[in-house]
Symmetry: C2
Subunit: 353 residues, 2 copies
């Protein structure tokens, strides 16, 4: 059967003040009306039933995840953050207990993919291929720009349809390299979306990251027993903190790429949302009450009934929630994390985290 | 006896969102802890007793003026705004009824003059001179910069101490002219502060603006009677809307200048307040909760318990009140009025005016 793993471990500091520890980006309506994680579930409709979805998140987020995804049964809190390899292993252990011959698609909870139909075709193709072959599939996104913030995967020999061999994985490139990649047509963005059978990923973890594989076997044995939480906590703490890319994808010999020919955006910061919103005549992407006088190309997110006004400014992000206001140069949107770090140093601001 | 007239008719749109119709600039603590009008009263201590002060304001502001100035007895609401000449005539009528031989100093309610001692010396000198001579005195401020937003008065022949004849009044000059004025040492800022006897100003109004003088005589006859409010309303509506500068000072032959050798600031907009506040290491003048990351030379006024944060921005004014937030390029501070005008066009925003 088809299963899905939704990785929702992010803390989303770049979307402060809207994002908080208990409500990070994936649990917010950053783009569109539904939250990012609700869109992620909806996007898999017809491919994976909600009863066969596993959301892996943090304890802080569990209550809100349950509320937002009432139909999803498997919601697991990681006892500690251990990056994506232990997360994938844990999910595979749980799925394998219910359905040892399962194939699974692994996706982040917080990407934006507007073309759901095309997305479903790609994921279905990959799942069907993973049923037949003992492979590890990464869904590579056709790059829309020479982005230096993403990893890339180079296509090797074509196998069938949109499936090709993976020649090599490349870390975030410099600008010139990224431009070469884009021009060559051989490189795809490595978007953190994977497809494989429980058997294939378990075998790969056993081979390349035996400590994680051993922990996952112990966890699997405890699934459905009263010892589960205790075992999970104990085993997770021992696992190496490593990404699935480093741990497995860059080492395994049976890695293939499914070409993802759909628009994809990881919506990495406030500035990103203007790509997906209708703008006013002055180029402002606004949500909520706003009055501008000669205000241009701003991103305004007003989560309150109170008004935001701007005069003579351009290329700013202005976000207002019930208890905080952010004014940020659009080009510095990634630095919103630094505000969160500063707030964390003072007890009086802890309620804002 | 010495009397004072405090002109508090301004609507203060440039200090929105803190200023509102019922609480304009003079009733706010824009600079310092006390409100501008409280500072104006305190500045006259030892020169004029609060019982001999007349505040002329709008009906909207009367309740708050009474609250802020409990010792001031004469608080008069103008039925309609008619600029400064009718305001001065009205005040002279009231004062003249109580004390026909009074001398009076007329001041705006919303200037900032930190050196109270020097201010008192100048006002006292002028009042003493006005007791002896039938003159109209304007207190001219020694200019600190070639400001193009103020009118100037050219000094004539010196009379005694800091009193000189007034040679001519000049409207807001262009930059080059203002620089010449500053370099010459002959020009002072016309700051809207005047000293004269009730007799001298009544005589001048009768000569140069007889309609206002006639109205003021009718009002004076009604002072202390039940007809006062009705007469005031009727007579005020008929008066010419004109400034005391145009109506009298630029025409009369007995105008003299008292040199005001003290720092003076009309605090015309949000950007002005940074001149009177201690700044942080990054040049930010802040009031209230604020956390900046690479935020420079900003003016932050936070009237709420909620935090304002700023990342990567410079030369902005950010003001937050309980129901509104303003983000304004510092150089565009005067344009805050345009926001108020925009808000006035929509019923849903009327509560913000």
């Amino acid at each position: 059967m088809n299963w899905a793993v939704i990785m929702a471990g992010g803390v989303g500091e770049r979307f402060w003040p809207m994002s908080r520890r208990t409500r990070p980006k994936q649990l917010l309506s950053i783009v569109g009306k539904r939250t990012m994680i609700q869109q992620t579930v909806a996007r898999l409709r017809g491919v994976v039933a909600p009863s066969r979805m596993v959301v892996v998140t943090t304890a802080d987020q569990v209550p809100l995840v349950r509320k937002q995804l009432p139909k999803v049964k498997h919601i697991i809190a990681e006892p500690v953050g251990r990056n994506t390899a232990p997360c994938v292993g844990l999910a595979a252990a749980i799925i394998g207990k219910h359905d040892p011959s399962a194939v699974m698609v692994v996706v982040p909870a917080d990407s934006y993919i507007p073309d759901m139909a095309q997305y479903r075709r790609v994921v279905k193709d990959a799942l069907e291929y993973a049923v037949r072959e003992n492979v590890l599939i990464t869904i590579g996104i056709q790059p829309a720009s020479p982005h230096t913030g993403y990893g890339y995967v180079q296509l090797g020999e074509s196998i069938t349809g949109r499936i090709s061999r993976a020649k090599r994985f490349v870390e975030k490139p410099d600008r010139a390299t990224a431009e070469q990649f884009l021009a060559s047509g051989e490189y795809l963005w490595n978007a953190g979306m994977f497809v494989w059978s429980v058997g294939a990923i378990s075998e790969a973890l056993a081979k390349h990251q035996p400590d994680i594989a051993a922990g996952c076997r112990a966890i699997q044995a405890a699934v459905g027993t009263p010892a589960f939480t205790r075992v999970l906590k104990r085993e997770f703490a021992k696992m190496t903190k490593i990404s699935i890319d480093y741990a497995v994808m860059e080492k395994a010999g049976n890695v293939v790429v499914a070409k993802g020919d759909f628009a994809w955006d990881d919506v990495g910061d406030w500035a990103a949302i203007e790509r997906h919103q209708v703008k006013d005549d002055a180029g402002n992407a606004t949500r909520g009450e706003f009055v501008g006088v000669d205000a241009k190309n701003c991103v305004i997110v007003n989560d309150t009934g109170k008004i935001i006004t701007a005069v003579g400014v351009s290329d700013l992000v202005i976000v207002q929630t019930g208890d905080a206001t952010l004014v940020c140069r659009k080009a510095d949107s990634q630095r919103v994390r630094e505000v969160v770090k500063q707030l964390a140093t003072q007890a009086k601001y802890r309620k804002l985290l």
